[in-house]
Amino acid sequence: MSYKCSRCKRDVELDEYGGVRCPYCGHRVLLKERAPEIKDVPVE
């Protein structure tokens, strides 16, 4: 899963044991990025 640190804006890979924490600056707020795939949406 790829996240982005809200303080240092670097991409963060979250691993199972590290807990929710940016490995570069230690900030605990991570933002989830939109998936890079093209999303197909039906209009209803």
């Binding site: 093209i38 999303k39 949406v41 209009v43």
Partner: protein, 261 residues
Amino acid sequence: MTNDFEVEFIEPGERSARFLVRGVSPAVANGIRRAMVADVPTFSIDTVRFVENSSVMFDEMIGLRLGLVPLSTPIGDFEEGDVVTLALDVEGPATAYSGDLESADAMVQPADENIPIIELKDGQHLEFEADAVLDSGKSHAKHQGGVSVGYRHLQRVEVAGDAGEFEEQEPNILRGVIEEAAAEHADADADATDGDLVATDAFDNDLTNRYPGKEVEVHDVPDAFVFHVETDGSFSVEELVLRAAETLGDRAAELESKVAI
């Protein structure tokens, strides 16, 4: 069956018009009205492939807004189910308008250029490719070519006598189009002649403005209907009416050929 139709335009217009049809039965009038709303197909965006959407709205909400953008639908060149691709790429700060949609087919374009899709702030980006499908209003309201399509009876106004001399005259509200039958009493309109077609907004929808101090009688004129037709811009009023009539005729032809077997 006798078919002596008489059509007369009262308010001509490209996207909105009012016209009178004489000699049409209520069944056919309603058939044409319903066909205009539900059976004349138009292009409308049906699926969207989002490459990027960092705007404040969800993909689905933007999709819904895109579906409601009217697209011009040329006659005869397409059939139901045909697909035309459109694309949009706008980066903030800017507002993405319907005019920013780039169509793969020059004949299918947004009918209006200034419909806002979404306002993008600094750094926000909207990019997608969308498929517009030709389908009828029966399947989804976004495919309706005719918006606000209706008719009223033509109304004949006759003066029956004088209103009570000492009575306070109450307003006599009437909407639609009247056929003048008491021109000599139409005080406000000096060149009124019997048989004139007058839209009621000309006298503020109040018969007492046109015939002050008179007692009037209003009757529906049989088999005479005043249509008010407004399109969403996919095509002109004229094309909408003719295509609606055509769909009715096509179905009658289909029934005739199937019954003959």
